[in-house]
Symmetry: C2
Subunit: 338 residues, 2 copies
DNA sequence: CGTGAGTTTGTTACCGCTATCATGAAAAAC
DNA sequence: GTTTTTCATGATAGCGGTAACAAACTCACG
């Protein structure tokens, strides 16, 4: 019934390959890691043996022996948010063909879950971290610092990163978009937000600062901690318009909400942008596809991934990056909806 | 005494905890894995020591010693496709709090990349696989079979799975949606497709079968291998309408295309569904949000993830699932766009 | 032809943990 | 009271690799 666990897994090991060729296993190991140090003929024979026996290296053993796992962790809040899939693409582009494996984790926007993930990936022996956000639990911070591993915090731009950082100011981006709306002549600008994580709050803060600087009323603000969705965008639009019918523009803390609001406007016959202007945040594909197209803050997600990976890679190769805190900026894209 | 240089990583190990408490390391190990086998007082002291020293287990060492990594691999074609983030959610829901780690890999719709991923995750010593699709390279198949690990193929429903399978027939789903359009009275139904992976081709086949069965013209079909996007949906719509202006309905192989086409209709002043009906595939959130809402084939992505994970988990616990090939079905949702 | 440097291969000792078996003491059974 | 079982803990030997050092062999050069 209960099978006795064998000590040996039955898998082909280095030793098996070595015995097959009639050499020692360290030489087989060298063929895989430092082929130039092995004579061509022997290398050839070893490679054939590997092929014939179907040998697959055991990375756990390798990592244990060398104290290097050749893997890094990329921690994001959400995988269903397209924002982060582009970050991943950037990271993957840099680490492809370097022999490094990118392990993906998602914290569901929870700092505690993030802490757990950090702990998990430390136990996997990752060689470095790329982590979204700069808000962590104290213990998470401590884990990272004590690990002495290279860490890149991305998306935001903390004043004092744990180690390195690549991102931009969401507060300033929120300010700039609001400012652009104001300059375009909109008088009564509302704000709609969902999820309201740290970054969304900063966008809101930017909106508020711009409104106050322009001596405009900053009361038309509706936020919820519920996760963002198209439907929620429609609901928020409805609520905002019910409470502040005089609004002539709404800045949403992300594109999903803005798109959902646009659909709701179409449903209600509200003409965009004539009656009501809309703006989103992130510059997802959809903002460029809807009718009218959506004004938005285009955030350089892929570039953030690329730069973060570049910094981390340098560190992994024991080189010193010229800078360790990169402001990628963003772009205010005024489109059909405003 | 010439002492060899130590290779130790400097990290806190089981041995350190054991020494701190004044016991052997195997007992510390037991506290973590089989706490009931350790006396309560000792357990308490060990736990305090672990806390105090900040011990984090090394999973690679554990996996190496026990030949069990307590991790599984989930391989999907794409992470930017929201279809798969819901599958992941289902899988994660089952494996949360089981001590199993879900390692995510994406093949970018390439069978060769998939093969590479399988090899990589085998070298990580995963205990099982959940793999999207049933089209694999010969070597990938062989790797999986030889590994003797439990494997669940998902999304499609192959006649002869490698091991287990959870999915449904995309051909039948394509047929059913087309059939529903025909029954609703549409006379000239086109098909628009992108990416055209195996599953998309099956949907096309279903459309074609329904058209032929109804003795309708199945020539109005436009597909491309380019990746799907909203913009591409607009382009395909434009091309279809240019070549077959008489079309009164279009079935797209996914929701992104359908939504993009809808936006393009709005742009061109084509009334949906009066002048042209649209239908998508997958039932993403957006289909329920646009105006009009989009008819679509709602695929049970989360459930597929749940069921696949359930089967795999049973296998990992050495239990035998009652069935190893689950047809989840799907739902034809007729909404505002048709 | 001896010598030293460079190249190629091997030996040994771990990495940090767990499987297995062993041990002594306490509890249960006879 | 003795034997058996159970419980709590420990000693030992790996798991499958790699680092560090060592040895054997090559080859150029004086």
């Amino acid at each position: 019934m209960v099978r006795r666990a064998r000590r040996s897994s039955g898998r082909v090991t280095l030793q098996d390959v070595a015995k097959y060729v009639g050499i020692s296993k360290i030489t087989v190991s060298r063929v895989l890691r430092e082929p130039h140090r092995v004579s061509p003929e022997l290398k050839e024979r070893v490679e054939q043996a590997i092929e014939r026996l179907g040998y697959i290296p055991n990375r756990q053993a390798g990592a244990l022996a060398s104290a290097r796992s050749h893997s890094i962790a990329l921690l994001v809040p959400s995988l269903s948010n397209l924002v982060f899939s582009e970050v991943l693409r950037g990271v993957a582009d840099v680490f492809d063909d370097t022999g490094y494996q990118v392990l993906l984790g998602h914290s569901s926007y929870s700092a505690f879950e993030e802490e757990r993930l950090i702990s998990t990936y430390l136990s996997y022996g990752v060689d470095g971290f790329i982590i979204s956000g700069s808000r962590h639990t104290d213990r998470a911070r401590e884990l990272l610092i004590r690990s002495q591993l290279p860490v890149v915090e991305i998306m935001e731009l903390p004043a004092k990163p744990i180690d390195m950082a690549v991102g931009f100011s969401h507060e300033q981006a929120g300010f700039d978009m609001t400012h652009a709306l104001i300059k375009a002549g909109y008088q009564r600008i509302g704000f709609g937000g969902a999820r309201m994580d740290h970054r969304a709050q900063n966008r809101l803060a930017g909106w508020r600062r711009a409104m106050i600087e322009a001596r405009m009323d900053d009361s038309a603000c509706l936020t919820t901690t519920r996760p963002s969705s198209y439907r929620l965008g429609a609901d928020i639009l409805a609520d905002l318009m019910a409470r502040w019918p005089e609004l002539d523009a709404i800045f949403f803390c992300n594109d999903d909400l803005a798109a959902g609001a646009l659909f709701e406007c179409q449903r209600r016959g509200i003409r965009v942008p004539e009656q009501l202007a809309l703006a989103g945040y992130n510059g997802l594909d959809i903002t460029d596809a809807t009718f009218p197209t959506l004004s938005t803050v285009v955030t350089p997600r892929r570039r953030i991934g690329l730069e973060a990976a570049r910094l981390l890679k340098l560190r992994l190769l024991d080189e010193t990056p010229e800078e360790t805190r990169i402001d990628t900026g963003y772009e205010i894209a005024i489109r059909g909806s405003s």
